[in-house]
């Protein structure tokens, strides 16, 4: 019989009453359970959303396995409980527990959260509280774990600084192990909490927010600086230079329940330099680093063997941009053809080549294909540096329809800087033209082809930190709603479906994404009102946020209003890679609709990321790089 930790045995029988009890039992294939008592330093990694969301996240898996490789640590997992489980935990007075040894979060030495989505921050507070850990860092003592956070939204950590003891900025493979080992060493030396935090602040990539203070000029943020001279004024993002040499696990945990991305995933490249001016990931994950074809195949073989998955996804910000994508896909399809393994490409560029690639891997079951033109006219796309033309889209969908796809999904953003009615009409026209192209192909084909469907999805543009649009005013909800209504009227056509994200929620995302430390009071207040799991429509109450902003006298415009490029920003103390001069230049060029090409095939745009010649960063085919700085 397997071992039941005490907290779990008290609750095990009651799990029949909660939805999807598999979320809480662990015990999956490849799970790593180490002996609790004989392991010196205990880490728990948390994802502030449910199991099925969190288990789909690659970063969390890498960290889990990387830390468990070390004998001196154990690393366990915790996810946000659904509301029914939360009620049960409270009723039985059991703390939120890890999936492996089923220990309450308060029993760990270090608790690390993955930051993926601004609206998950109230869930972090809730998980801390359910795990019996004081929510405010300042209230934690010797017996409490250290609470850290990192991930893709860490590039503006300010709104959650009072709740997190320290942040790790950048890619885990580079320096996280060193940080955790140092923390363990200092804890063993019995240093007090403040001394440990002070020492942590000296490490590369570590930001200890309690050692910095922010200043305001009325409502306007006016600067952030360390409290002591011995604390570094700027924190540099950690990054891996060679992805081939970076740690990469292959023995991933295999969940029982159907999770969002339930397949083997290999990261074929990291970063994207196409330079879309709205895209935070495209700016903060530079430069593009590729895994070699041999390495990808080696990882794929091992991962498939160890997990038993029959689907392999090639992940990255733009998979078909891999310089050897064709060779890679040819080799993979040949290799796995006979073993009933399907290959999927999660991100497609808007061009015929991408459709060709998708066709080659997806021999059968072609149904839906997604493209993201982002804006409705060539002019606006030039302004946001999304370098595709309307014609590219038509060529791509033409190829897609003739290869047998019948459903095309198109993603657009509303509220981009400089957007006019012409751009909205552009969205409607593109959708109609795509439909026409599809219907014509359907009429003239002798194959059986399902009815053509065009799905148009729009979201509100959020001007994010570390993008050339970080100074842009976010469009008001009224403005966006008018635009949605306009599109709704213009997209009424059989065969076209139109859907949009709630602009009110986007506004909140914008407020948190660009917020300064004052937002922490708002987040705390909203959580106190009972909010958590706000990524789920049924659990978000925007009015609580607006009430709290009012209560703490925070003017919304002071956060998401227009900023001058010379004004200090709340994230100025972080060095993400791209320098501010580059962002300013890109912002300036956007007004002129001037494009900046990908430096891999063109001249260097001087973004500041390469401290080495680009050719030394692992790219599969170096010969394509003519100009390196």
């Amino acid at each position: 019989m397997f071992f039941l930790a005490e907290v779990f045995s008290q609750i095990d029988d009651y799990l029949i009453e909660v939805d999807s009890p598999e979320r809480y039992i662990g015990q999956e294939w490849n799970q790593i359970v180490k002996d609790w008592d004989s392991t010196d330093f205990k880490i728990c990694v948390g994802f502030p959303d449910t199991y099925e969301i969190g288990m789909s996240h690659l970063g969390l898996k890498i960290i889990y396995h990387m830390l468990n490789e070390e004998n001196e640590f154990l690393c366990e997992r915790v996810f946000a409980p659904w509301t029914d489980m939360e009620d049960l935990l409270k009723e039985k007075d059991i703390g939120l527990f890890s999936l492996e040894n089923k220990r309450e979060l308060m029993d760990f030495d270090l608790l690390g959260f993955t930051l993926q989505y601004e609206m998950s921050y109230t869930t972090i507070l809730n998980m801390l509280d359910l795990g019996k850990i004081p929510v405010y860092s300042s209230e934690r003592g010797k017996e409490d774990p250290f609470v850290m956070a990192g991930g893709s939204t860490v590039f503006n950590p300010e709104p959650i600084t009072p709740f997190i003891d320290f942040f790790y900025i950048g890619e885990a493979e580079e320096n996280l192990l060193n940080v955790v080992k140092s923390l363990k060493k200092w804890q063993e030396q019995n240093l007090n909490r403040d001394d440990i935090l002070f020492k942590l602040a000296q490490l590369s990539g570590v930001y200890v927010p309690s050692l910095y203070e922010t200043q305001f000029d009325g409502q306007e943020f006016s600067g952030i600086r360390p409290l002591k001279d011995s604390i570094k004024p700027e924190i540099k993002r950690q990054r891996v230079n060679n992805l081939n040499n970076a740690y990469c696990p292959t023995d991933y945990i295999v969940p029982y329940m159907e999770i969002v991305h339930n397949r083997a995933v290999i990261e074929v490249s990291r970063g994207c330099q196409r330079g879309c001016r709205f895209c935070a990931a495209g700016m903060t994950y530079r430069p593009t680093r590729e895994r070699s074809v041999e390495k990808i195949i080696e990882l794929a073989d091992k991962t498939l063997a160890s997990t038993g998955y029959d689907e392999l996804a090639l992940a990255s910000l733009s998979t078909v941009d891999h310089t050897k994508i064709k060779e890679l896909l040819d080799q993979l399809t040949e290799r796995y053809n006979s073993s009933n393994i399907s290959i999927s490409l999660p991100s497609l560029r808007v061009d015929e080549f991408s459709v060709e690639m998708a066709k080659n891997v997806q021999e059968i079951r072609r149904s839906g294909l997604t493209f993201a033109p982002e804006a409705g006219t060539d002019k606006l796309r030039e302004r946001i540096n999304k370098g595709i033309k309307e014609e590219d889209l038509y060529k791509s969908v033409k190829a897609a329809f003739s290869y047998g796809w019948h459903r095309i999904k198109l993603y657009f953003m509303l509220g981009l800087p400089g957007e006019t009615e012409e751009d909205l009409l552009g969205i409607a026209n593109m959708a109609k033209n795509v439909l026409d192209i599809g219907q014509e192909i359907r009429r003239n084909t002798d194959r059986r082809m399902k009815k053509v469907e065009v799905q148009v999805n729009v979201t509100t543009f959020i001007p994010k930190p570390f993008t050339p649009f970080q100074w842009v005013k976010m469009a008001s909800m009224e403005e966006i709603r008018d635009k949605i209504n306009f599109l709704q009227k213009n997209l009424r056509k059989k065969g076209i479906n139109f859907d949009w994200n709630d602009p009110e929620v986007s506004r909140l995302e914008g407020l948190v994404a660009r917020g300064d430390r004052r937002m922490s009071e708002v987040i705390y207040h909203v959580w106190q009102q009972g909010s958590r799991l706000e990524g789920w429509n049924e659990h978000i109450y925007p009015e609580r946020w607006f009430e709290a902003l009012d209560k703490y006298n925070i003017e919304i415009e002071s956060i998401i209003g227009e900023k001058s490029p010379d004004q200090p920003l709340p994230w100025d103390h972080l060095i993400a890679g791209v320098n501010k001069e580059f962002l300013k230049e890109e912002y300036r060029k956007s007004f002129l609709s001037e494009e900046t090409p990908d430096c891999r095939w063109n001249y260097c745009s001087d973004c500041g990321v390469c401290y080495k010649p680009y050719s030394e960063l692992c790219l599969e085919s170096n010969q394509v790089i003519d100009n390196v700085n």
Partner: protein, 233 residues
Amino acid sequence: MLIRAKFARDYNLRYISHLEIMDTFRKGIRRAGLPGAYSQGFNPTLNLSLSQPLPVGMAGGGEYLDLELTRPINGEGFKARLNSFLPEGLKILDARYIPDQTGLKSLQALLNRAEYHIRARGKLKEKREVLIEKLMAKNKIIVIRKRRNKPDREYDIRPLIFEAKVLKDNKISFIVSTGSSGNVRPEEIVKALQTLEPEVPDHSVIDFYRSGLFVEKGDKIISPLTDQVLEER
């Protein structure tokens, strides 16, 4: 070519659903590199079938699976290999290679008896001996079965209960009919007992354990792995 195997789903994995169990076996078979055959069509999957679904929350000690093969493999080898690729709590207990499956009934059509253990609570625990005796002495016991989108139906379950006995640790075992020829759910056994003693409390799915599934042969119940079952096609 087929492998028919008996397996247990332990208490620790009782919250996994039937489809998740199927999927866990499929992945385990792939990890183990066993020669399972795939279905034809758009989405080829391993041709695997399981005995009657175990409800979420219930462990089982005598469940069965059939796996179609592309080449022969002996039962012992299958058992040993697959067990080292399954998570703790899912275990092959016995396996038999069947070279020719022509005329073989599917597991769900074949298995028509189930044995359940009930962890007796309250009045049932107190009066278990008497209640069982009373139950088996009745000719008819009407329980009401709720049906989705249809009116409730009255239902005599006594003819579908074949054996009842008291076990140690306050447990009671029942052998009942299962499958398409008449199915008794363990909570209905408790309902039947409640008609005799209204103070017997409701029992939940976690109070039940399915210790085995069987094929009825005359007055005996036997395993679907026996020669007698396999030869009769």
